[in-house]
């Protein structure tokens, strides 16, 4: 399997994204994306790795760096699939069904314990005087 990997810097200005430059060196691409993000000229900057399988002609794209004027920059190592999986994991868990039987038992036990304590206290007072 022969893979061709290129790195692109994408910039967003006034809501419009454009491909800014192309690299075949990941480190250089990320360094340049970081530098561009620091200039504050763009609302968002990201570096994207595009991997093309020359045999199948299937390409996989993943963001390796992203920064916005409103958020700190971050190097990332996530494929689109991984990001989708992450979003799935981060969904709030569905509310758990309350176990009615367990609640009845625990409340009965608590009630029994309070009654027993009260009776014990009455017995203690009667035996003392």
């Amino acid at each position: 399997m022969a893979n061709l990997i290129v790195y692109e810097i994408h910039t967003c200005r006034q809501g419009a994204w454009k491909i800014d430059s192309v690299f075949d060196d990941r480190e250089l691409a990320v360094q340049e994306a970081e530098r561009m993000a620091r200039t504050q000229r763009y609302s968002e900057v990201r570096a994207v790795e595009e991997s093309l399988d020359e045999d199948t002609q299937r390409s996989v794209t993943r963001t390796i760096f992203r920064a916005s004027r409103d958020a700190p920059s971050a190097r990332e190592d996530r494929s689109e699939e991984a990001l989708a999986a992450l979003r799935k994991v981060r969904r709030p868990p569905p509310p758990r069904r309350k176990n009615v039987v367990a609640q009845v038992i625990s409340r009965t036990l608590l009630f029994g314990a309070i009654v027993a304590a009260g009776l014990g206290l009455i017995y203690f007072i009667n035996s003392s005087f």
Partner: protein, 150 residues
Amino acid sequence: MTIDIEVKERRFVQHLLIYWRELAPDGVLPSRRRIREAEIGDMWRCCFTLDIGSVAAIFTHIGATHVAHYGADLTGRPASLVRPGTLLAAAVDRLGDVLARRIPITSTGTFIAPGGDPVPYRSILLPLAEDGNEVSGILGAANCRLPEFR
């Protein structure tokens, strides 16, 4: 040692890219007229420029280091005449992509030195436009690990 060379090579490409961006901060392509040899400094000896005509891309400048390494000055001659397998040929290899996409493209790879050894190189092609839009020239640069390029 190899790491130092790699960092130096990256800086070489990145410095030229930063210079190019400063010439056109608003996102339009910079004009060839705005490029100053003095501003590029010592890197100029590893740079070249091309005029993009309707028929061919013609070298309008080739840095002294490239002239010495290539063994001839190709200024005034078309890029298509560069000997295949040379550093200069590798440096202009992605010219078509830059013309089509109108964005800077950097490349790394190896070429075979006159002694027969493969030598790693790094290059960049930066589009220029007199009207800020249509590519009419190229600022390019390439360096490698041969002593004369350090």
